[in-house]
Symmetry: C2
Subunit: 424 residues, 2 copies
C-alpha cells in the first residue's frame, strides 16, 4: 500500500507553522486603517484579536512554534492526514500522469478548517477571551470554530450567511450540537445587520455582511474577540501543516510534484497546501506549477482587480491589498458556499500578481461532473469546493494523456461532501 496511501506517524506532525511573509518576492503592502487610510498598528487590532495572533499576522519569522496543546488537539482531531494516490481515477482517465491527493476531510468537521480554528481558540483562551464571534458561509468554518471552542472552554457565536442558513440547516445543527449560538446574517443582533435588513429585507446575505456583524459584536464586548477562517496571514500560516505533511509524504515515496492544485475562496486551504512548496520554488529548489481554482461565478483571481479593498461589506475591516470583486459583490448562490467571497488572501494575491500562482475557473456543472467521476473511481464524495481542485486535476491529467507526459499532479481535497448531498 505504501505508494497508494501514505501515512505519517503522529509524532511526525509538523512542529512549526511556516510563515511565507519573509520569503515573498516583495514585501506585502500593509493593511490600512479604514478611517485614516494610514498603515494600521498592532494596537488598532487588539479590540478584535488576541495579541499573539496579531503578532503572527505581522511576523517576519520563518517558523512559529506550535504549542503542545494545539498539537495534541490536532492529533486528536485526526492529524496527520493521509495522502492517497488516485490510481482508479488515473486508470479511468487513461493518463500517464500520477495523481495524488491530500485528504483533509477525515475529522469530525469534515474539512481543513479546524487546523486554524483550534489554534485560534487556543490563543484566545490563553489571553482570557470568553466568547469568539465569527461568520460562516456554507458552515464549514462555523462548525470548525464551534468544535474548537469546546476544547478550550470558549463560547462561540456564529453569523451564518442567510442563504446557507436556510439551504443548509444541517451545518447549523452541527454548530448547535457543539453548543454554539447561530444567527442568520443579516441579523437583528447588530446595528449593521439591522441597517442591511431595513434596506433589503429579502437579501440572501453575504460573507462580507456576516463578517461586519461578527466584528461589530467583538468590538462592542470586552470579553469577545473575533475569529476569521481565511484571508489573513495568521490563518494561512496555521494551515501550512497541510503542505508540510505533504512534503514529508512525497519524500517518503520519492516523488516530486510537477503540478500542485487547490481550490480558492479566501485562500486558506490553497495557501496551507501550497506555501511550503512555493517557498521551495522561490528558492529555486522546485520547478512546479501552482494552480488556484475558483468558480466562474465568483472569479476573484481571474477577473478581479488587485486593489486595496475591505474584507467586509460595512467597511469596518482594515483595507487589504488583494484581488477583489469589490466589497459589495453579492455572489450567486452556488453550492460551493466556501468559495463565495469577494476578496482573496493578500499573500495569495501577491503571488498571483508575480505569476507564481496560475488561477483557473470552472462552472458549477463542470465541477459536479468531476466530483461524480471522483466518487465513482475513488469512492469518496468530495465537497463542492474541493471538486474545483478535482476538475483541474482531471484537466491537467488529460493534457498529460494528449502530450504523453507522466507528470506528478497533487491536489488538496479540502473536505468531504456528506453535508452537501442535496447538491448532488
Amino acid at each position: 500500500m505504501k505508494d497508494t496511501k501514505v501515512i505519517l506517524d503522529e509524532n511526525e506532525i509538523p512542529k512549526y507553522f511556516y510563515n511565507i511573509l519573509p520569503d515573498l518576492p516583495e514585501p506585502l503592502a500593509p493593511p490600512l486603517n479604514p478611517l485614516t487610510q494610514e498603515p494600521i498598528s498592532p494596537k488598532d487590532l487588539e479590540v478584535i484579536f488576541p495579541k499573539e495572533l496579531i503578532r503572527q499576522e505581522m511576523s517576519e519569522e520563518h517558523k512559529i512554534k506550535i504549542p503542545d496543546e494545539v498539537l495534541d488537539a490536532l492529533i486528536r482531531m485526526g492529524r496527520p492526514s493521509p495522502l492517497f494516490r488516485a490510481t482508479n481515477l488515473e486508470k479511468f482517465l487513461k493518463t500517464p500522469a500520477k495523481i495524488y491527493f491530500k485528504h483533509e476531510g477525515l475529522n469530525p468537521c469534515g474539512s481543513h478548517k479546524p487546523n486554524t480554528a483550534i489554534a485560534q481558540a487556543y490563543y484566545n483562551a490563553k489571553e482570557g477571551t470568553e466568547v469568539l464571534s465569527t461568520e460562516t458561509g456554507a458552515g464549514q468554518w462555523g462548525s470548525a470554530l464551534s468544535y474548537s471552542c469546546l476544547f478550550f472552554g470558549l463560547k462561540c457565536k456564529v453569523f451564518m450567511v442567510r442563504i446557507s442558513f436556510d439551504q443548509k440547516p444541517y451545518r447549523k445543527v452541527i454548530m448547535n450540537t457543539y453548543g454554539a449560538e447561530v444567527y442568520a446574517s443579516p441579523s437583528t443582533e447588530t446595528d449593521y445587520g439591522r441597517t442591511v435588513l431595513k434596506r433589503s429585507p429579502e437579501t440572501p446575505g453575504s460573507l462580507g455582511i456576516a463578517i461586519s456583524e461578527a466584528i461589530e459584536i467583538a468590538a462592542k464586548n470586552e470579553n469577545t474577540k473575533y475569529a476569521l477562517g481565511s484571508v489573513l496571514n495568521h490563518v494561512m500560516l496555521h494551515q501550512t501543516i497541510i503542505g508540510q505533511e505533504v512534503q514529508k509524504q512525497l519524500n517518503m515515496i520519492e516523488e516530486t510534484p510537477d503540478i500542485l492544485i487547490g481550490c480558492v475562496g479566501g485562500g486558506s486551504n490553497f495557501a496551507g497546501f501550497s506555501f511550503p512548496f512555493i517557498k521551495d520554488k522561490i528558492q529555486g529548489n522546485l520547478n512546479a506549477e501552482f494552480i488556484a481554482v475558483e468558480p466562474t461565478s465568483c472569479p476573484t483571481l481571474t477577473e478581479g482587480k488587485y486593489i486595496y479593498d475591505h474584507g467586509d461589506s460595512a467597511g469596518m475591516t482594515p483595507l487589504l491589498k488583494m484581488y477583489s470583486l469589490g466589497k459589495d459583490f453579492i455572489p450567486p448562490s452556488i453550492h460551493a458556499g466556501g468559495l463565495r467571497y469577494h476578496g482573496m488572501a493578500p499573500t495569495i494575491s501577491l503571488l498571483a500578481k508575480h505569476k507564481l500562482i496560475t488561477p483557473e475557473a470552472y462552472t458549477q456543472e463542470e465541477i459536479f461532473d468531476a466530483a461524480k467521476v471522483f466518487a465513482k473511481t475513488e469512492g469518496i464524495i468530495p465537497a463542492p469546493e474541493s471538486a474545483h481542485a478535482i476538475k483541474s486535476a482531471i484537466v491537467h491529467a488529460l493534457k498529460c494523456r494528449k502530450n504523453n507526459e507522466s507528470k506528478t499532479i497533487v491536489f488538496n481535497l479540502s473536505g468531504h461532501g456528506l453535508l452537501d448531498l442535496g447538491a448532488y
Copy 2:
C-alpha cells in the same frame, strides 16, 4: 497523546478473521430449509451466495486468512481505525471510570459496514458474480456495499426500506453517486414487493420485506447474488477485525477492559467488536462484562423469544435459531434505522442465552441526550445507532462514580451522525 488516541500502523491490521463458531459454549443450531424444516445444505445456499462465503458461514476453523486484495481495500478505506480515550466525557461525568471508544466512522461510508461489504464484494467478484443485490434500512449498509462494489467491478442493486428512502434521501444520493440502483421497498421490481404493495399500499416497509425482495432477484437471475450486512456468521467474522484491533490497542497502553459495550440491530458491529474478547472470556483469560444495547422500541434481546424464525418477511430465508420479535414485526420509525430488525444474529443469540452477553434497552430520548453529551464533550456527533452504546457507557460510568470504582469501559462507536442531523 499515547493514552488518549491509540493508533496502529497499517501493517498491524489483523491478517485473519476470527471465527467464534468452534469456541461457542454449545454448537450453533443449524439453519433449517424453510420448505422441509431439515438442516440446510451448503448446496441449497449456492443460488444466492458465492461458495467461499457459504464455506465461511459453516466453517469450524478458528481463523480465516484475509486475502491481500481485501486487506489493501480495508487499509485504503481507513483501517486500522483509532481507539480514543474519552477524557472530556469522563471529566464531565466526574467518574473514576476510564472510558475508551473505537471509532468506526472514519471512512467514506461513515460506519463499520464496509468491513464486511469489501470482503463480500471481493469473494463474489472472484467467483464471477456480476450483480450484488441487497436490502438497506437507514442506508449505511447499502452505501457500504455500493462503495465496495465499485472497487471490484460489480453492479449493485439496493432495496431500501420505504420509510428511510423517503426520510433519508441523502443516503440514497450516496448510493446513486457510487453507481448503485436504489429501489424503495416494497417495490414493483419483485413478485413479493408487488404482493405486499397490493395488500398494504401505504406500508412504511421493513428490513424483512426488503430482504425478501433482494433475495428474490438473486434467486431469479443467474449473474446476481445476494449480500447481507448483518446476522449471518460470515458477516460477524468479517467484522472481527474491529475487536482484534482493539485488543492490540489496549495491549499497547496496558489496559484490560472490565465492560465492553456495543449497540445491536442484527448484531454485526457488536459481534465484530466483542467476539475476540468473548473468546478470551470463554477461555477464562478475561473477566469482563459484555453489554449489547438495543432500542426499547425494537427489543429483540430484552423481550424477544429464542426460537427458529425467518430472517425475512416472505419466509424465503432459512430458519435461524435466534432471539426474534417475529418475522412480521414492523418496528416503529425510530431514527436508529440500523437497529430496526426483528431478529438477532444466531451467534449473539446463543451467547445471550448462555448469559455471556447482557442486553440493555434505552428509549430514543435517552440515547439522543447521551449523543448530545458526547458531542459537547468529545466533539464527535455519533450515529443514533452508536448513541445506544454511548448511553450505556454513561450509565455504567455513573455507576462507577456512585460505587467509587475505576473500571475500564470500552465501547464501539459504530458510525458518525453527519447523515442523521435531521434527527438532532
